[in-house]
């Protein structure tokens, strides 16, 4: 009885008759299956690559009719006008496509936003990485996340219905929707991005350099400004670039709050005047233009410039983030 039971158990436990090695056919099958599976996964992963390619291809394809139309000299003239003229009258009888004001508008609100956002967020990042106790950090992180999560249209709504009337009555500006208004709101939107990336960069510089600095008698402020910040400079630059990308690519806030007047402010430092950005132009005019018209293609051209610009900024930020990673690793190894 007992023997029998043992035998059946043994049979259940392991099939000793099975060959230890797989047959060549089985081997082949497993090999092929696993590679096919990998290939399948790889193909799906390539969706992102494909979509980036498609985005570039289609934006370029739709803007080509604007770039090349008529003779070569006409095309060159049109491009010259596009980049240097300040007259943007796409729907006039004699349409003019001078997009310089749009570039200027984007640059105004973006740098205006950075002006407010960079100092605030760098100090906040230092606070989070070095000064705040753990509990405070736990509270601050969700606040920053929520600030980043609020939809841009809600920010735009706030800018138009709350900030704009306030500016008009309290600052004595002729219009409440202007570059200053958009800049402030964009700054609030860019702060979370800059804070979280800069915080990561500063935290990853490691304890060693901080302790070395303290050992030399530096105070915490001195350590942060003179040691940690230089050490984390590439991460901080990447953070600022990412914040800049957020600001320059933002549509709803500038469309609603920047005033949409295609002009370059005079005098040049006058943030209180209305401007019009590239994104707002696309959003505002695409709905009213005829598909296939020159105006339509010119808007794609503006989109292409925007895309190329953010793409370059993205590559820069990637380079700086890679640098920051290297420095972080180097600090740890020592």
């Amino acid at each position: 009885m007992a023997d029998n039971k043992n035998n059946s158990l043994l049979e259940q436990a392991a099939d000793f008759s099975r060959p230890l090695l797989l047959s060549p056919a089985q081997d082949m099958k497993g090999y092929i299956l696993s590679h096919l599976g990998r290939a399948f996964l790889f193909l799906i992963t390539c969706t992102s690559v494909l979509s980036v390619l498609l985005i570039f291809v289609f934006i370029i394809k739709e803007s080509l009719p604007f770039i090349f139309q008529g003779t070569w000299s006409a095309s060159i003239n049109r491009m010259w006008e596009f980049f240097t003229s300040v007259r943007w009258y796409p729907e006039a009888g004699q349409p003019e496509f001078g997009a310089l004001t749009l570039f200027a508008g984007s640059i105004y609100v973006t740098f205006g936003a950075l002006l407010f956002a960079v100092p605030t967020s760098l100090i906040a990042a230092m606070f989070l990485s070095d000064i705040a106790p753990f509990q405070v950090k736990q509270i601050c992180k969700p606040i920053i996340e929520v600030l980043a999560a609020i939809p841009s249209v809600a920010y735009g709504f706030f800018a138009v219905l709350v900030v704009a009337p306030w500016m008009q009555t309290h600052l004595g500006l002729s219009t409440g929707t202007n570059a200053l208004n958009a800049s402030i709101i964009l700054a609030i939107m860019a702060i979370p991005t800059i804070v979280s990336v800069a915080d990561d960069a500063m935290s990853s510089t490691g304890r060693a350099i901080r302790e070395a600095s303290y050992a030399l008698g530096a105070t915490r402020a001195e350590t942060l400004v003179k040691v940690v910040m230089p050490a984390a400079h590439s991460g901080i630059i990447a953070a600022i670039i990412l914040g800049m990308m957020r600001a320059i690519g933002e549509t709803m806030v500038v469309w609603m709050a920047a005033g949409n007047a295609s002009q370059i402010p005079t005098p040049w430092w006058n943030l209180g005047s209305a401007v019009r950005t590239m994104t707002a132009t696309i959003a505002g005019e695409m709905g009213e233009t005829v598909q296939g018209s020159q105006h339509y293609h010119s808007l794609f051209m503006v989109g292409l410039i925007l895309l190329a610009f953010t793409f370059m900024l993205n590559l820069c930020s990637e380079y700086f983030l890679a640098q920051a990673k290297k420095i972080g690793k180097g600090g740890k190894r020592k």
């Binding site: 690559v49 606070f127 000064i131 929520v146 600030l147 939809p151 841009s152 249209v153 989109g303």
Partner: protein, 541 residues
């Protein structure tokens, strides 16, 4: 530098950095707080009888009997207003009186024709009536009281003429008596001014109390009811009681607001007491009562969002985001699994990573352009579908937008599963695939879920990508995914900037954006809570 100064600087620095965080929290509160406060006014407010009537007529809510009782009550309080108004109008709005007088004369002529009298008599009677008519019209046209009195007297002299008994002409005598009374109180030289103000007063009273009973139903839904909410009624009342003018007090200075009571314009006339009557009896005329209008979240709205709710917007947003998630989640998780489990640090993988980061950095408006050029204008015609913006195109565009978010979050989640889990599974003889499906993926699931929830909130809030690919400001509830839809995000934009009618109803403006913010915030708080639990669990192991 002295040590004391350095320490002082250090302290100042510490406080400044703390202040920056407080500033952030403060701006969060300043932005969200008032919007949610005002937005909740769309649901919680003091409703008037007009609101209850609207609810009954449009959605059959509430009981007919109670409504009728309330309406009768309100009606009795409103009658004096209309009485004063109509009476005063007789002295002012003379052009309509003149047409009425002429109309009566025409009727009289027709009546005579059927009475079968001989030709000479007919002409004689008619000429008599014509005389009276011309006297009355002359009285109405003049602004000089001394000129009017004889005209009216001539009409009234004929009051006992048996010829005009029981004919339309008999009404002339009543007109004349009324007018005689009016010219003794009203300064006729101000008639044009009165007429102008009167139309304004009538318009405000219509906004306050709805169309005058017995005058027919206006065509637009927004004109069919008076103020449905007490806060709106107060605003309308204020505009009724006061006139606002922008006057130049000093040369070269901006214009300043000057308010004068409207009653002053009507000083000395019977209209004067109308204003104090309305102010004192506002509650009796509108019967305010606290209401919780939760149906705001499911009701459709009248054009311009003047009345009603945001049901179609909410449905549209849910459709768009869920469809986008359905497209993006499988792609995202599989990509993340490949990147973590199968891929090394080869050049291909680096390119893939760069592409994912690029995709994350593409401005949302460019996504919108791409969606228009690729899905709407290229892919749909290729697949034999109609080339027009629709939910499908919008959600595909949104799917591309959130793909990098999901990939990154899933990658982090899969990476954070402890290596020991996988090793234990592999040691038991499970294959790589089996290990991923039954060990790594379940362990990473909460993290992946967080990523999905965050991308849901991102997709719900994005406006620019759906501008040209599937969002409309007005339109019916979509029947299929091949139709465009309304959405909370685009609706918020439209109601804040594009719509002139909506500017009259701030609670509607703030209501829609509050719904959007609360949706996004709720999703984010969910994600934060899941992550909190997760952090505890991994700390435990």
């Amino acid at each position: 530098m002295r040590l004391g100064v350095r320490l002082l600087i250090n302290n100042i620095f510490t406080y400044f950095s703390a202040i920056s965080i407080v500033l952030m929290a403060g701006s969060l509160l300043i932005i969200i707080g008032p919007m949610i406060c005002k937005g909740s006014g769309a649901i919680f407010f003091r409703s008037t009888v007009e609101f209850r009537e609207l609810q009954f007529n449009m959605h059959n809510r509430g009981s007919k009997q109670a409504l009728d009782e309330q309406k009768a009550l309100a009606e009795s309080a409103r009658t004096p207003v209309y009485e004063i108004l109509n009476h005063f109008k007789q002295g002012i709005d003379t052009s309509s009186l003149q047409t009425k007088v002429r109309e009566n004369y025409r009727q009289y002529g027709q009546q005579l024709r059927f009475q079968n009298i001989d030709r000479n008599k007919f002409t004689e009677y008619r000429n008599q009536a014509k005389e009276l008519r011309d006297e009355l019209v002359a009285a109405y046209e003049s602004v000089d009281v001394n000129e009017i009195r004889p005209h009216l007297q001539k009409v009234l002299d004929q009051a006992n003429n048996a010829l005009f008994q029981n004919t339309p002409i008999a009404e002339y005598f009543q007109f004349a008596r009324d007018y005689q009374q009016i010219i003794s109180t009203v300064d006729l030289r101000k008639r044009d001014q009165y007429a102008q103000e009167l139309t304004k007063v009538q318009e405000q009273i219509r906004l306050l109390l709805g169309p005058q009973p017995g005058r027919g139903k206006p065509a637009l839904a927004m004109d069919q009811y008076g103020a449905t909410r007490m806060d709106r009624a107060k605003v309308v009342l204020d505009e009724l009681m006061w006139t606002t003018q922008w006057v130049e007090i000093e040369k070269g200075k901006p214009l300043q607001k000057k308010r004068t009571p409207r009653a002053e314009i009507f000083a000395g006339t019977e209209m004067e007491k109308l204003f104090s009557y309305i102010e004192q009896n506002l509650n009796a005329m509108l019967l305010p009562k606290p209401a919780v209008y939760w149906q705001y979240l499911i009701d459709d709205s009248t054009p311009g969002h003047f009345f009603g709710g945001i049901g179609p917007e909410i449905i549209g947003t849910l459709l768009l985001t869920l469809l986008a998630i359905a497209f993006a989640v499988p792609l995202g998780i599989i990509s993340a699994a490949y990147l973590v489990e199968c891929a090394g640090d080869t050049i291909t993988v680096r390119i893939i990573r760069i592409c994912i980061n690029t995709l994350a950095g593409v401005p949302s408006i460019v996504f919108g352009l791409f969606g228009l050029a690729f899905f709407v204008l290229y892919l749909f015609p290729l697949a034999g579908m109609q080339s027009k913006p629709c939910i499908l195109a919008a959600s595909l565009t949104l799917a591309l937008l959130i793909l990098p978010v999901i990939i990154r979050a899933s990658e982090e989640a899969i990476k954070s599963v402890p290596q020991t889990y996988k090793e234990a599974s592999l040691a038991l003889g499970a294959s790589n695939f089996k290990t991923f499906i039954s060990v790594t993926f379940p362990a990473a699931l909460p993290g992946i879920l967080t990523g999905i929830i965050l991308s849901l909130s991102r997709a719900a809030g994005e406006t620019a990508p759906i501008l040209f690919t599937g969002a409309v400001a007005l339109g019916p509830i979509p029947r299929s995914i091949f139709e465009p839809t309304r959405a909370l995000s685009y609706g918020s934009y439209d109601i804040a900037v594009g719509d002139r009618i909506a500017a009259l109803v701030p609670h509607q403006q703030f209501g829609i954006v509050t719904a959007l913010i609360l949706l996004v915030l709720g999703l984010n708080i969910c994600a934060i809570a899941i992550r909190w639990k997760l952090a505890k669990r991994f700390r435990g192991t």
